[in-house]
Amino acid sequence: MISGMLLEFEKISRSFGGVRALSGVSFGVQAATIHGLIGPNGSGKTTLMNVVSGLSGADAGRLLFDGRPIHRLRPHRIAALGVARTFQNIRLFSGMSCLENVIAGQHLMGARPLFQRLFRLRSANLAEMKSLADARACLSKAGIAGRESAPAGSLSYGERRRLEIARAMALKPRLLLLDEPIAGMRLREIEEMESLFRSLVASGVTILLIEHNMPFVMRLCHSITVLHFGETVMTGTPGEVAEHPEVIEAYLGGKGERNEG
């Protein structure tokens, strides 16, 4: 184990029928940094994120979180280690309000015992106040404090993405996986997200970020891994990546083709 690496992919492969979504992907994510994951549509970025969160098993290879193999764990076990995520196609609890979404996201924080509730003990109230305060803090960090009681289904696209990030933060994660978090956001929102991600990293959180917006990736990420047809083209600093001829050809050149998946 290389010291300082929070997440290490070792020759991770995954196929869907005949499609090799990932073949022998290896790289490491330094703790308390923002690591970018870029590549053309269908290059396996989301699949890789699914492997990390346990939604998709790896056919071969190893995945280490904080030095510990996690590729055989079920999703809730991986979450319990401190891994939270958002989804490319946003998965909110649309029947709940914004505040309720975040409270639901506090599952691993505990402190919602039935017994106290049943007998209306004071501790139930105290626990509830704390959970409410925490949830409000997450909402305001994500910049949607004003929409507390709005049904999640009624939010604008950018607000939905931010609510999903707020819900992921409720878990107080060590590693945050963000799948195209600023897709569909307006410029001002993008700037807010940028400072949010920076402050999270400053507080010790590690972020693995999938994003098609190259200027955003280039100015925010400490290091970047480029995927192409399920293989790692390279891992390096934004400067190195921008100069790599294969990257320019494979990805930066094809910028116009991006779409929402």
């Binding site: 969160s53 346990g54 939604l55 079920r74 999703p75 809730h76 991986i78 979450a79 319990a80 891994v83 939270a84 995520r85 989804f87 998965r91 909110l92 609890f93 649309s94 029947g95 709940m96 409270i103 639901a104 996201g105 506090q106 599952h107 691993l108 505990g110 919602r112 015992p113 039935l114 509730r117 049943l118 509830e128 819900r167 992921a168 409720a170 878990l171």
Partner: protein, 310 residues
């Protein structure tokens, strides 16, 4: 209760006369209430039991699991408790509790394989389970075959039924704000999102299924000791669907939805009978119409009418 005629003769002062009138009125009320109960007592009892059964289905529904096996769990509770009181002279409360526990145990056994299935296929699998239970009851000799069990001692009272209903409703309301309740709600909204936020979805789906079966089993035991006779047919397909209809009509966004749905749909046919509508199909047709209107115009059920006003 003393009748008004027996009031003290010396009630001469105005105050006393006022008291006498009030007492007379009160006595009349009590008489009216007991008459009402004599006529509608069984309706009141059955409405309460239906509400309890509706709640038993509400639990898995609140965790997003469409189970159609709860009438069968009620059947298990009914047969087990009835047999315990009749054959082994087990005290009534204990036999009802045992019925609930056995229903829960069966749910625990079948939950592991069945809850891997999702949506409409889960509904079909639990329905098939219900058929198996019914066929067992028809073919076993201990359950009395198709004729069922006859001569179950009448022990259940309205107080017990409504006590159980109130306790269950209170428990489920408290549960809603607990770790378990939030997990149920998260799974119902989006199972994948629930998983990655650390919820052991398999475990909580099983908890919901087992808890629902337990409540159904208790309701079944109370039903058996109310009714003198139970038959396998009562716990079959149409009963399963009936429970689902209570939930759809009342709504499953709160504990009160299924209760309201069950009370209204049980009472309406009887109210219509009292109003002189004697044709059976017409009376049940009104319930069908209500179901249709709710599905079309109130996706969250009748209880959303009250929620909106607040």
């Amino acid at each position: 209760m003393k009748l008004p005629a027996d009031l003290p003769a010396g009630a001469a002062s105005r105050a006393d006369r006022g008291l006498a009138i009030r007492l007379r009125r009160r006595a009349a009320e009590v008489v009216a209430l007991s008459e009402f109960f004599a006529v509608y007592g069984s309706l009141i009892n059955f409405a309460g039991l239906n509400a309890l059964l509706a709640l038993s289905l509400y639990v898995p529904l609140s965790a997003g699991q469409l189970s159609l096996g709860n009438a069968a769990f009620a059947g298990i509770g009914a047969y087990v408790s009835a047999l315990l009181t009749m054959r082994l002279n087990v005290p009534f409360p204990m036999s009802v509790a045992a019925g609930g526990c056995l229903a829960a145990a069966v749910a625990m056994a079948i939950g592991a394989p069945v809850l891997r299935i999702k949506g409409i296929f889960l509904a079909m699998a639990t329905l098939a389970f219900g058929e198996v239970v019914r066929i067992c009851a028809v073919n076993l000799s201990i359950t009395g075959g198709a004729e069922g069990l006859i001569g179950i001692p009448n022990k259940t009272t309205a107080v017990m039924i409504y006590g159980a209903l109130a306790a269950t409703a209170y428990f489920l309301t408290a549960l809603r704000w607990s770790q378990t309740g939030w997990s149920f709600a998260s799974i119902r909204e989006d199972e994948t999102a629930a998983m990655v936020m650390g919820i052991n979805t398999t475990r909580y789906k099983n908890v919901a299924f087992i808890l629902g079966a337990f409540i159904a089993g208790i309701a079944g035991g109370l039903y058996a000791h109310l009714n003198f006779i139970i038959t396998p047919a009562e716990f079959g397909f149409s009963a399963e669907v009936q429970l689902l209809i209570y939930n759809i009509v009342g709504g499953t966004r709160s504990v009160f939805g299924p209760i309201v749905g069950a009370l209204i749909l049980t009472a309406i046919p009887e109210a219509l009978r009292a109003a002189g509508v004697t044709a059976g199909p017409l009376r049940l047709g009104v319930n069908g119409l209500i179901l249709l209107l709710v599905i079309l115009y109130l996706p969250n059920g009748l209880s959303s009418l009250f929620a909106k006003k607040r």
